[in-house]
Symmetry: C2
Subunit: 412 residues, 2 copies
């Protein structure tokens, strides 16, 4: 059994402990939903206010050049690149995950003319699949094969008809982590392209896109990266593909000479060809503030602490909540999980509500999944102890049963 | 000749004068670039800070529901609807102008199956044309006819092959205003759809999309609407079309049940089907702050003052700068102009730089166009007087000639 003294010792020895003071979090809250919306750093808040009051209100139009607004997508992309194993000139920050999926998949189809199958996962966050439907609406001969529908394993859907595979690095429900290098290799063996969705891995663990030979990637910045609510997403393309990328959202920010106001479109020679229109600067600045924290984070330390936190949570919960019908949905093997722990429980919705009422914020996914995200920059081992203890109390007291009845199953 | 006493009398009688105090502008600056980036209202700045510090930092994930983040696109769309003559449920605020052009044109093509021509203007802001190229890349049989290339007048390009016309309400270079009702009628006569680009008219004058029978429209919120740098754009569809709209950027925010996480896409029955992915909340809140100013603006008064300001500027400049080679590029007839005055001048670039150095901020477009935008909410008649006087001084002193030589033609 783990003791509170051991927990205190873990916190004293934590090399990332000092980052906690750089974040604003409500007093007493254990925030385990950073996998959904990351916490605010003081740097992000300050960056937003400076952008609004100084750059916009006082400098107005001059800020497009003087404050570097126009170059933010590529500058932030390069900076974010360290978190995902990208080199300079391979990443831009822009638009939304959904829109970047569209661009990336269209670009992938253009890189593999004649191939007319896309492989994806039925277990994907749905917008990935909805965007693939949108892509298909313009390519009548395109077929989509789904892991979980057309075969149990994605690997079994690969053949030489496949143009590209859109695959999540970390599953948003279970927190299961794919082996990026191995799967990319298998995808390449049939001549297809690997397009990685990093929404639940960027900022949660070291990602090595180039080490794995990935072709394209997309992801969001508002979860583990802490860019702020709805902060712009990113899109990556390996340098070997950049000059050939072609995507139909060819707005003026993707033009080789955006201020020449040419009549015809000519794509930027670099990664900016994945841009489209004018970006939301206040939200971009918020992300830039968040990146000023990330610049100082050792990603190996991040991973060590992440696995220690999630491992501790699994152990504490299983120690204390035995017999309450919890079922671990996350891989027990540390090498196979991201920075999230999920449990199945028949009263999942009500239990999460009871936890929130006690200041432990996780979230719920139908029909019976409780998700707890562990952001190593602002969580302590003591937080994990407190969260497990709150879960024990909720389950022991059984008050979730009446709450579940109240909710009447009308869970949204 | 207009006298300074007459100017003072105009300011005293201005029913919109009180709005000036709601905006933050640098002391002594005459800001005539609100047609490019609108000024910051105190309400917008406060809304951004509240969203960052309270909603994000303190309430975190709960704000998606409790603070109404998720419904911002439709709530802001309805609110903005008054400025453009839209009814409830016809407008959403989201994404960028470029992306909304793509959605609107794809939706228009879906509404007119079998028709394979789009008409647009060579004089359009280029992103409109670049996005049409993107649309065409997915429809190999699609043809684009351009006013200014294929015929001098857009009206001459209309026939029964035309699916849709993408047309600017106000020209971004000259400030010329189209007759929306008349042109929409002509477009409908051949069975085509009218898609209006309102970037330079929304917030500059009363727009009446429904009065004109417009089919679709797009526009930005960071110019005259003062939503902030890169604030989200909007897209409108007439209620008669909403249930039939189909566009390929079908992300989860456009789903009928976004939180059911269905495997397949089913479009929202309403205008939210024009959404795609997660929106930048801080930038959305900035726009919401700006809208709290607009809610109190009488649009007829706005138009009256706008025409008085632009008319006065034309008169004063022509009185004082005669013989300096200025050529008015904006229609002299008030019924034919937006809220902008443009002059052609051989030293346009240098003259604009000299004006900026004197605190009068306009902008320059190659090869020789000086643009001055007049935002009636924060400009006074005295500002117009001062701007015309500054222009006279610059031209009389002739210092722009040496600056032009310095610049060596390397204008970007």
């Amino acid at each position: 059994m783990t003791t509170i003294d051991e927990i205190a010792a873990l916190d004293r020895a934590d090399p990332l402990a000092a980052f906690r003071s750089e974040f604003v979090l409500p007093e007493g809250m254990v925030y385990l939903d950073g996998n959904s919306l990351g916490a605010a750093s003081r740097a992000a808040l300050a960056a937003v206010e400076k952008a609004a009051r100084e750059e916009w209100a006082n400098s107005l139009i001059a800020s497009w050049n003087d404050a570097g607004w126009f170059t933010l997508p590529s500058r932030l992309g390069d900076r974010l690149g360290r978190l995902i194993g990208a080199g300079a000139g391979e990443t831009v920050v822009c638009d939304t995950v959904s829109i970047n999926i569209f661009k990336a998949m269209e670009a992938a189809l253009n890189l593999r003319p004649g191939r007319r199958v896309i492989v994806a996962e039925a277990s994907s966050f749905p917008t990935d699949l909805y965007m693939l439907e949108g892509v298909r609406s313009r390519h009548p001969d395109l077929r989509i094969r789904l892991e979980g529908v057309d075969a149990p394993r994605l690997e079994d859907l690969l053949d030489t008809e496949v143009a590209a595979v859109l695959v999540n690095h970390v599953d948003y429900r279970t927190g299961a982590l794919r082996d990026m290098a191995a799967l990319t290799r298998q995808i390449h063996e049939v001549g297809a392209l690997a397009v990685w969705d990093l929404c639940h891995s960027a900022g949660a663990l070291p990602v090595d896109l180039n080490g794995a030979g990935a072709d394209l990637a997309i992801g969001c910045s508002y979860k583990y990266i802490n860019g702020g609510p709805g902060a712009p997403a990113f899109v990556f393309a390996a340098s070997r593909h950049v000059a050939q990328l072609k995507q139909p959202l060819s707005g003026w920010w993707a033009h080789a000479r955006p201020f020449a106001f040419d009549l015809g479109f000519e794509a930027d020679p670099g990664i900016r060809r994945m841009l489209c229109g004018t970006q939301p600067i206040l939200s971009m600045r918020s992300l830039e503030g968040a990146m000023s924290v990330w610049d100082r984070v050792d990603l190996a330390e991040l991973r060590r602490k992440s696995l220690a936190l999630t491992g501790l949570f699994i152990d504490l919960v299983e120690e204390r909540c035995a017999g309450h019908g919890l079922e671990l949905a996350t891989p027990r093997d540390p090498a196979l999980r991201g920075s999230q722990v999920s449990f199945l429980h028949e009263g999942g919705y009500a239990v999460v509500q009871e936890l929130i009422a006690r200041g432990v914020v996780g979230d719920f996914r139908r029909p019976n999944l409780m998700r707890f995200g562990f952001a190593p920059l602002y969580l302590s081992y003591r937080d994990v102890w407190n969260a497990a203890e709150a879960l024990r109390q909720v389950l022991d007291e059984g008050s979730w049963r009446s709450r579940n009845a109240e909710a009447g199953g009308a869970v949204t």
